[in-house]
């Protein structure tokens, strides 16, 4: 490890000691933060995975209905049937603070409360498979919103965990050892200075005694 480029003085020594103690405290706090983030992340990611499997399965199911509807009906008729939706989704976004990561929370609001408003077309000229596709999608929609929420949360938390881990590592493997080594260096240098002062004093004392009293 590299020693910091400082003057070996008592002033610097006490400054460095203060820095070292706050670095140690910071390291401990960040490590705790990392561990807690990781714990929450693991819970979220498991839910995320399960939710994604469910949503993908449901959408595939709806797509299968859609494919059948598309083959039974003319493309134009199908497009027209879905052209003017009666229903409209609006989202209310709030945020939740998880270990200082702000993750979004979505709440859905529908324009009309009638659940049958998802069928924006008359039943006469459309295939029954279209109804199946639309109702399958409508059934999975709450899960899709939750998936959007949780997937964003996982991405944001993964990013924060990576950042925190870097900080912990930088403190643990670079800053703290650097401080320790510099402190050791200054302590050594100071005590060396002290010893050298003592010996030169002894020498001077000897010389003075010798001069004044003729001692050997």
């Amino acid at each position: 490890m590299a020693r910091l480029n400082v003057n070996p003085t008592r002033m610097e020594l006490s400054k460095l000691k203060k820095k070292l103690s706050s670095a140690r405290r910071g390291h401990k706090l960040l490590k705790d933060k990392r561990d807690e983030l990781m714990r929450q992340f693991m819970i979220l990611i498991k839910e995320n995975r399960q939710l994604r499997t469910e949503v993908e399965k449901a959408i595939n199911e709806a797509n299968r209905y859609m494919a059948v509807a598309g083959s039974v009906m003319q493309k134009e008729v199908l497009e027209t049937a879905l052209m003017l939706p009666k229903q409209e989704v609006e989202l209310d976004v709030s945020e939740k603070n998880v270990m200082s990561v702000y993750i979004p929370e979505f709440k859905t609001k529908f324009r009309t409360d009638d659940t049958n408003d998802i069928y924006s077309y008359g039943m006469a000229f459309t295939s029954i498979d279209l109804d199946g596709a639309v109702s399958a999608l409508s059934a999975v929609f709450p899960k899709m919103i939750r998936l959007a929420e949780i997937e964003k949360a996982c991405q944001l938390m993964a990013d924060e965990i990576e950042k925190t881990r870097r900080r912990v590592n930088a403190l643990e493997h670079i800053m703290i050892p650097d401080y320790e080594e510099t402190i050791k260096f200054i302590t050594m240098k100071l005590s060396e200075n002290e010893r050298s002062t003592t010996t030169s004093l002894m020498k001077v004392k000897d010389m003075v005694l010798k001069q004044s009293h003729n001692y050997h």
């Binding site: 993908e56 595939n60 989704v89 979004p104 924006s120 409508s138 959007a148 997937e151 993964a158």
Partner: protein, 103 residues
């Protein structure tokens, strides 16, 4: 008030129109890129995009990965699942933990 959008080819996403989501039928990379930035600037909190469409604009999607909104979610297209959505999940785990421990 925020809104939700769906991007992809017509056959895969038409059904979402009935639910009241804003549907954008785009299949060209440049147009999707422009569309995503326009939606992000215009109060769209959630953007669902089909996996084939997302594969064309992966850079743009990566750009929004660490911003709070919008949340861009990959969904399977009518041709079936490519597994890209699940792969993104595994990437997040790898980023956070250091290795992919989901199995």
């Amino acid at each position: 008030m925020y809104k939700a959008a769906v991007i992809g080819d017509s056959a895969s996403i038409s059904g979402f129109a009935a639910l009241g989501l804003s549907v954008f039928r785009e299949t060209e990379p440049e147009k999707i890129t422009k569309l995503i930035s326009r939606l992000a600037a215009n109060d769209f909190a959630v953007i669902y995009i089909t996996e084939p469409a997302a594969a064309l604009v992966s850079d743009t999607i990566a750009k929004y990965r660490n911003s709070k909104l919008p949340s861009i979610v990959l969904i399977p297209a009518i041709e079936g699942n490519t597994g890209d959505g699940m792969r993104a999940l595994h990437e997040a785990v790898e980023k956070a933990v250091g290795s992919d421990i989901l199995n």
